[in-house]
Symmetry: C2
Subunit: 347 residues, 2 copies
Amino acid sequence: MNQPLPDLVAGSSRPNFDLGWQVRIAGTGTYLPRRRVESAEIEARVGVPSGWACMNSGVAVRHWASPDETASWMGAQAALRACAAAGVEPESVDLIVGASGSVERAIPDGAPLLQNALGLGRSGIPSFSVHATCLSFLAAFELAAERIHGGRIRRALVVSSEIASVALDFNAPEACTLFGDGAAACVLERSGDDDTGRVHRVEWITHGADLELTTVRGCGTFRHPNAADADPLDALFRMQGRATLRRASRLAPKLLERLGLDADARRALRWVVPHQTSRAGMNIVASMGFGDGAVVDILRETGNCIAASIPMALSRGIADGRIRRGDRGMLIGTGAGLSAAAIVMTY
Amino acid sequence: MNQPLPDLVAGSSRPNFDLGWQVRIAGTGTYLPRRRVESAEIEARVGVPSGWACMNSGVAVRHWASPDETASWMGAQAALRACAAAGVEPESVDLIVGASGSVERAIPDGAPLLQNALGLGRSGIPSFSVHATCLSFLAAFELAAERIHGGRIRRALVVSSEIASVALDFNAPEACTLFGDGAAACVLERSGDDDTGRVHRVEWITHGADLELTTVRGCGTFRHPNAADADPLDALFRMQGRATLRRASRLAPKLLERLGLDADARRALRWVVPHQTSRAGMNIVASMGFGDGAVVDILRETGNCIAASIPMALSRGIADGRIRRGDRGMLIGTGAGLSAAAIVMTY
C-alpha cells in the first residue's frame, strides 16, 4: 500500500517540488451576521475621531453576531451554502474539520457542534477541530487535502466560524475597530484527471517566541475565569500591532522563498487570497509583487474575521470571477503564534 | 508524484484494508505534577464517605498542577523526555502538534507555547493544535503519521498537556474525583523497512447529537466570561456519566467492526491502550475480549487526564515491557463530541 517515499522530505530543500495532490475546491459558502456595524458606531463608543477606524484598521463595516447567531449555527449556514455550491449533500462528506480560532465552548470542540447543527448528529461522520488561530483554515485545508490525496476520504467539509466581537476591548481602538464576526466553509474533493484542482505546495513557519504579540491570555487553564487571580481583561484580545507587523513582514519573504516563489512566479499567480489582517497587513501583501488585481481584499467590508477571513475572501474571489478553474493561485496568511503559512494551488 | 488511488476509499467498506504506513513511535515521555492528591482529600472536601472515589470513579490518586506548572511547561517536560527516549534532539522535529483537550489560553493555541517552552521559539518549526477533547492525541497522531507516511516530514512531536483541576465542580462528586492533570508526549518517525513500526488502521465516529453529555459550556464565545449572562458554572466540567457510558458502549462495537476486529483479532492484539475514562469505562474495555493483561490500566494512579491519558498509558506500557517492538496493538478511546476512535498499529 505504500507509495514510494521521495529521497528528500518535501520542503524548503526542494524549491521546485510539486505535491501534485489531486484535490479540488468543489464549493464555498459564507455567512455574515445580520447586524452590520459601521465604523462610526464604534468610533463614537471608543471616543476616537470620525474616520479613525478606516484610516487605522482599514475597516469601514464589519458584522457582529447576535446571541442567536452562535458560531456553530453560523458555521452550519456557511456549510450548507458551500455544499449547495458544490452540488453535494452535507451527509455525503467523509470528514468535518472545524477550523476556527475562537471556540463556542471549551468542550467539545466546534466540529461536533457544527455536525449536530447540520442535522448530522447521528451520522457518525468524523468531526474534530484544528486550532491555529487565524491560520486554522489553512491547517485544516492541508489536513483534509492530504487525506483526500492519500485516498482515505473522497470529500471533506472545512468550516471556520468566528465570533470576535465578544472579546473586544473598547479601550484598545486599534483592535476593537478591526475585527468582525462571520463564517465561511469549503467543500474539498478528490479531483479527477480531467479536473483542474491541484494542491502544489504547502509551507508553514512558527515562531513561538512571539506568542505574546497577539493573544487572549485567559479563558483557559492559566488564570481560569473562576480562579482567585482571574482578570476580566485576560478574556479580551490583546494585540501589539506594530511589533506584530514587523515580525510578520520578516516571516513573509522566508515563506515565499520556501514556496519557491521568485518575482516571476509571484507575478504569474492569477489570484492571491490573503488573511485580511489589517490595512497595514494588506499593504505588506500588496507590496509583494503579485499581479495587478490578483489580491482579493475584503477587509474594508468585513474586518478581520480571524480564521474565517481566508475562506471568506476565497469565496468572494470565486463569486466575482477572479478565481477561475485552471488558474493557479495562493492562500496565505499569518496568525497568532506567531505563524505564517501558505498553500499554492490550482483552482 | 501521485500514488495510485485505491478503487475504494479506505474505511469500513474494506474490513481487511491495511494502511501500511511506515511510521514508528520513536519515544514517549510523561510529566506528572508534583502535588499528589489522594482521594481521601477530595472525599473530605466534597462530603462523601471515605472510599467513595475509588469505588465510583476508580481513582485512588491523581496529580494536580500548581500555578508554576503551566500546561506548556508540563508539555515541554514530557516532550524533552520523549525526545530523550527517542534519542533525538527536540530541534530535529519537523512538526509540533498540540493535542490537548484543554487550552492554556484562548489564543494562541498550545503548540506555539510549547515550542517556545522548549527553547525553539525562533526555530520556525511548524506548530499548531488539534482539538478533539479526550481524543486529541489520536487525531494529532493520525495527522502526524499520515504526513510522515506521505514523505513530507520525517519526524513529529505530538504533545498532550492537560490541567483539568481548575474546572472541577466540587458539587459533582463523580466528575471531581475522576480527573487528574498531567502531560505526555510522543515522537513519531518514518520507519525504515527493517523497523517494526506500522500504522494499520484508523477509524473515527462522531455523534454530535450527544455533545451535551460531557461539556464545558463556557470559556468560549457562547456566554463569554465577560458577558452579562455569564455563569461561573459554565466554566466547569459537566458530565452525564451514565448516559455517556450508555452511548459510548453503543459506539464501541461499531468501531471494532469498522476496524475489522472480530473476536479472534481482538484476542490476538498484544496490547491495548485505552483512554482512561473511568472505572465503568475501563470495565467496558475489559469486556471487549482482549487478551489477558493486554489492556494498560493506569486510571487508579492518575485519574482521567483528558487527552494525555492515552499517551501516558502508552508510555507506561512501553516502560513496563508490555508493549514490545513488533507487537501489534491498539490505541482506543472516546471523547466529548461524542466521538470514538482507534488506531491499530505495530509498535
